[in-house]
């Protein structure tokens, strides 16, 4: 073990990804630079008769990844992400299986509708044979990849991966473990789960270019474009990382709950703002230290209002000046994987010292007077990023991520 860095500094040293704008970190970094659009008309199942057809499917080299009928897509995507992570970052090999932990965020269990329709007689629990439990996916991967320190499967909806990464951060910082594979995986793009969200009235009804359907802060935003993806990150303390391995530092994390309504975010965003304040305190920084904010940016009317209000609370006097960004215009809303996949955009900003233009965000909403990066990328010194996410039901997370100088 080297003696570089503070023992409490936690860094991300590896990433593997499958996303609607590409599979593999190289492809995704390029896609962020190019502003590639990952939303479109769903191809993975015949959506032609569906009342909503927009989704963000995992792509590789520009083409939607096709899997066998009945496959649990999210399970396949986290496997792809894990394989990339372990292939590109073999440093985990120096740790015994008992020193390795796996904390993953994920979403609703997968159901094979053909199996259910063909074989299930409706008896309670009879669906088990046609259901793939998300927790068992994680347990299986942990066994396959030699991770036996412990596993936690977080199901906090849209902050599931954020809370998983937060748990890894806190464990590593407290020296409770030496290395963690963390992140998230999800796919809502099957008829059952997709129509469940449609029934909630949450999906975008954008009639224009499907590639511009998720309009985070745009005046014409119309709802969620749900999607699929996976990100596996390797996290460890800086003093355990090899030279040059640290991609970024996770310096602070916090989570709060609105305790407001189950259907809507608190329009005053009190708890969301509090999560940011707590994360900054956790990182030992002040609001003045934050260079830009990566917001949740789901594309719903209420989320944008709440995030605008949160910015006002977090950065009084500065909230209209600080640049804000969301990756969802490119990749849609990946629910249990969203924060983890969006860390690729955090890496992009820290590496390139540039905030990409928010995709599909053309027309400012006068009621959302934020400094959304529109049209062209914004080059600027970026040392520290605040990342906010929020879940259906009222859970909020905030992270402070910054350049690692190691």
């Amino acid at each position: 073990m080297s003696n570089r860095g503070s023992s409490s500094t936690v860094v991300i040293t590896g990433m593997g990804i499958a996303s609607p704008v590409g599979t593999g970190m190289d492809e995704v970094m390029s896609a962020i630079e190019l502003g590639t659009r990952g939303t479109g008309i769903i191809e993975g199942f015949d959506s032609s008769r569906y009342p909503a057809r927009l989704g963000a499917e995992v792509r590789k080299a520009g083409k939607v990844v096709r899997l066998n009928a009945g496959a649990d897509r999210k399970a396949e995507f986290i496997r792809m992400a894990m394989e990339e992570l372990f292939a590109r970052y073999p440093g985990i090999g120096k740790y015994a299986p008992g020193d390795r932990y796996m904390f993953m965020g994920t979403g609703i269990d997968y159901f094979d509708l053909n199996g259910l329709a063909g074989e299930w007689d409706g008896a309670p629990g009879g669906w088990e044979a046609h259901c793939r439990r998300s927790c068992e996916v994680v347990a299986g991967l942990a066994e396959e990849f030699g991770i036996s320190g412990g596993i936690s499967v977080n199901v906090s909806a849209c902050v599931a991966s954020a809370q998983s990464i937060g748990l890894a951060f806190r464990m590593l910082r407290s020296e409770g473990g030496r290395i963690a594979v963390t992140g998230g995986f999800d796919s809502m793009l099957n008829p059952l789960h997709y129509m469940g969200f449609y029934k909630l009235g949450a999906l975008a009804d954008w009639k224009g270019d499907p590639g511009g359907a998720c309009r985070s802060f745009d005046r014409k935003r119309s709802g969620l474009v749900i999607g699929e993806g996976a990100m596996a990150c390797m996290m460890q303390r800086l003093d355990e990382a090899g030279p040059g391995e640290a991609m970024m530092e996770l310096a602070g994390y916090a989570s709060t709950m609105d305790a407001y309504l189950v259907t809507d975010p608190d329009p005053e965003a009190r708890a969301l703002a509090e999560s940011a304040v707590l994360a900054m305190e956790d990182a030992g920084i002040s609001p003045a230290d934050v260079d830009c904010v990566h917001l949740h940016g789901t594309g719903t009317v209420k989320n944008a209002y709440a995030e605008s209000r949160a910015m006002e609370r977090i950065f009084p006097g500065r909230w209209k000046d600080i640049p804000v960004y969301s990756m969802k215009g490119q990749v849609g809303h990946l629910i249990g994987a969203c924060t983890a996949v969006e860390l690729s955009a955090v890496k992009y900003c820290l590496d390139r010292q540039e905030i990409p233009a928010v995709v599909a965000d053309d027309e400012p909403d006068p009621d959302i007077p934020l400094r959304v990066v529109r049209g062209t990328p914004l080059r600027m010194p970026i040392r520290t990023i605040l990342k906010l996410n929020a879940a259906f039901g009222g859970q909020n997370t905030a992270m402070i991520l910054r350049r690692s100088d190691a």
Partner: protein
Amino acid sequence: MIAAFDSFAPGEQIPARDYLKDRKLEKYFSRETASAVVSMGRLRERAPFDGRMPVYYATGIGKFEDFNLAEMMGESRGPDGRFSPEAFLSRGIINVSPLTQFKILSNMPLCLVSIAFGLRGDNAAVYSYADGLMLQALYGPNEYPVVVGAGKVYADGRVESGFALVSRDDVEAAPFRGSRDEAIEIIRYWAGKQ
């Protein structure tokens, strides 16, 4: 350590509304959520605590409530007895209430308990494994005591839930690290110890 553990027989009415200020919330409840609300209500009666205290909850693998899945699948079969997208759209999904999503999403027991009792602090909803809840309770908090809970609906419709207000020592002493048992066993253990 103070724990509240509840068990309701198949078909037994769960008196969640006794603990609700806003009884309209009940329409969003699954059987697990209703039981969790009762358990949190009972814990709060014995151990009043700050609404900013961390709360971690594990939802169990559902073995009973299908939230109209059987009815929906019955209506989604084509003439050949297989899944028919046309039947699914024209008949199957019609029977599914928008409220169903609130009963399916795995974070809803925690979120609805949070709303019912004004809990705003650090939090996490984890799935099934005792190990996952233990790791969350051990490494998640910046402070103790914390509230740790779990719920589980069994194949016969019986439901169990519980919450415990615990110290770090309580968490470290609980023999569930590495366990793939359902997390409700942790709460049962703590309830038995008090």
